[in-house]
Point group: C2
Chain length 381, copies 2
């Protein structure tokens, strides 16, 4: 004990125990978690090398493979939120000088551009107006022109509500000898995904949207083709925390200590995945679709216009045009403070132009649609 | 809805709801969380831009300044575990070619070496046998020889149980014009720390040790001197998720969206910090010291030898030499599986030579010492 100095109490707040309002989270995420999942968070942690915990990690891996429809051995949860899993795909696949072609049709495409640049990629982009998606032909031309090592696409653009079809893209990438990296942050658990059938090599997601879990542990997967590129690297991965050559030894049979996992979040994620397996993935996807269609219908009934063409709309996230003359921010603030309902505003190109309404995981239920639309109608009146 | 493929159910585990044993965690961390903190985890999340959440972030910042005894404006929790906060200090302070001098007296010094190398540092090391610490004179000579941009030291070496005294080191660093970066993973909340008085420029910690919170949100702080170096950078920080030029805009008055924070972990961290402020930092440090001394006395009473010289022992983590002829791993396994008590084994140079016993946060209580020592005595008999 070497305390020789006096303690400064200027920052010693005296606070009451935590009390937060009970919000209905219908924005772009987080969404409300199933009560059973929240309850799992209130379980005493075990150690990160406890055999019980290692067993739970195996369960998470299997169930993540199920929800993603992949057999990739290294399918894990990264100890951070979705952006950390995004960075994990970039950090482990990009070597300095690699050409990375990013399809930018919203905010998160731009984030991929930013990240890939930080890892030394020669970044090329193709763009679409926010709310639209790329055709297979457009992708073919861009691959032909740029000959990238990696094509990065956003399956579910959280900023626009658009779903990028991926059928046939994997074949194109094989034809041009590049890896396919996709963002499934707003699709996993809520939108049909067939990673292996689609030939996806790297994918990431989050826990707090379609999986209906609190944020903080984020799905990551890598195919054997992408693993080969990783193993051929001459320099270490330029990110220690997200280095899959190290993380693979913790999640794999070696069980080599890497970092202390966020134990309770893994409890929650395991419960979230267990509930989806219980419900069945097909049922879960159909539920999201059905409730989204109900939302679209009800929004149009009160005179609102949806931003994305129906064929490419995400069932998890709907962008609604803010009517002329309406202060979108003020409406969202009223919904939050007077009615405890959160919806999102627009980002980037769509700032001030749309609201973003999420129906994800546990929140994808008709009663939430009713509560939102009735409140919105009253507030807009 | 474009589901045209059949769902593969091979990884669809059918699991029972989560059930984990009730362990007493007396290893190097995680430690058991206070019940009030666990309960906070079971609170419905609000959004990461909700005014209520932004207010909670401010509370966390103030209370982190209190427990660290600093006035650094950018004092936040990183959305990952302690190693992410460690990487945040390196990623934001190191520019390619910078000489970084690391004091290695255990496993976590080596981790700093690994990380700094990944960010392009010209890494130099000074070393000590595991369990010992550096003198001020040794540090002066090393600074004179290497003239680093950054000196990185581990205040509390989790792998050895040794406490590196830091009085006078900040003055030395100023004399030689370098920044001082320190690891307080196993000291924050349990061992006296006076960051500002000691002239520390960058520090990181974790939530699951002295703060007695589950792992996943990790303290980070940066001084104005280090901020100036960060602002002078010509290239972007080579890590998007941990880039303080972006995170500072989310935690600061601008409130610019960066990533979705792990909301419930911040609830828990806020509660953990609130409880320390309620107890008082001096009382909290004294409690850790008193219970550690009681542990040391009782361990010596049953004939065991402590690895670190008394003056440099951490009150949070004690390394105990495994007696000759005893299978340390088997004993730890028996404690875990038959008695639900977790203790740690040795890492690196100390693998097979010591056990590591933590008394941190909520777990630093005499009844835990009694339960452990009596059980250990019985198992060793």
């Amino acid at each position: 004990m070497t305390q020789t100095l006096a303690i400064n109490n200027s920052q010693r707040l005296q606070l009451a125990p935590l009390k937060v309002p009970d919000r209905l989270l219908l924005g772009p995420g987080p969404s409300n978690a199933h009560p059973a999942i929240l309850q799992a968070m209130d379980t005493a942690p075990v150690g990160h090398l406890d055999p019980v915990f290692l067993g739970l990690m195996d369960e998470i891996q299997s169930l993540l493979r199920y929800v993603w429809q992949t057999n990739n051995p290294l399918t894990i949860a990264v100890s951070g939120t979705g952006s950390a899993a995004m960075e994990a795909t970039i950090a482990n696949s990009v070597e300095p000088g690699d050409v990375v072609l990013v399809g930018v049709m919203g905010y998160f495409g731009n984030r991929l551009v930013d990240m890939a640049g930080r890892y030394g990629a020669d970044v090329r982009t193709i763009t679409k107006p926010w709310g639209q998606v790329f055709t297979l032909e457009e992708l073919r031309i861009a691959l032909e022109t740029n000959r990238p090592a990696i094509l990065a696409l956003v399956h579910a653009e959280t900023s626009t509500g658009a779903r990028q079809p991926l059928e046939g893209v994997g074949e194109l990438c094989r034809e041009f000898g590049c890896l396919l990296l996709i963002d499934t942050v707003t699709s996993l658990g809520g939108v049909p995904i067939f990673l292996d059938e689609w030939g996806v090599d790297l994918a990431y997601s989050c826990s707090q949207k379609g999986l209906g879990c609190p944020p903080g542990a984020s799905p990551f997967t890598i195919s054997s083709r992408a693993m080969e590129k990783l193993q051929r690297r001459t320099a270490k991965v330029a990110n220690w925390y997200l280095d899959m050559t190290l993380l693979g030894k913790y999640w794999g049979p070696e069980r080599v200590y890497h970092h202390t996992a966020p134990i309770n979040l893994y409890y929650a994620l395991r419960e979230a995945l267990r509930l989806i397996a219980e419900e069945g993935l097909d049922h879960c996807w159909q539920r999201h679709q059905k409730n989204a269609e109900y939302l679209w219908e009800r929004l149009e009934d009160i005179g609102l216009t949806l931003h994305v063409e129906r064929a490419f709309r995400l069932p998890t996230l709907t962008t609604v045009r803010i009517p002329d003359g309406v202060d979108g921010k003020a409406i969202a603030r009223t919904l939050l403070t007077d009615y405890n309902i959160e919806i999102g505003g627009g980002l980037g190109e769509l700032a001030g132009k749309v609201w973003r309404i999420g129906l994800m995981g546990y929140n994808s239920r008709p009663e939430n649609v009713d509560r939102l639309v009735e409140t919105l109608k009253a507030v807009l009146a």
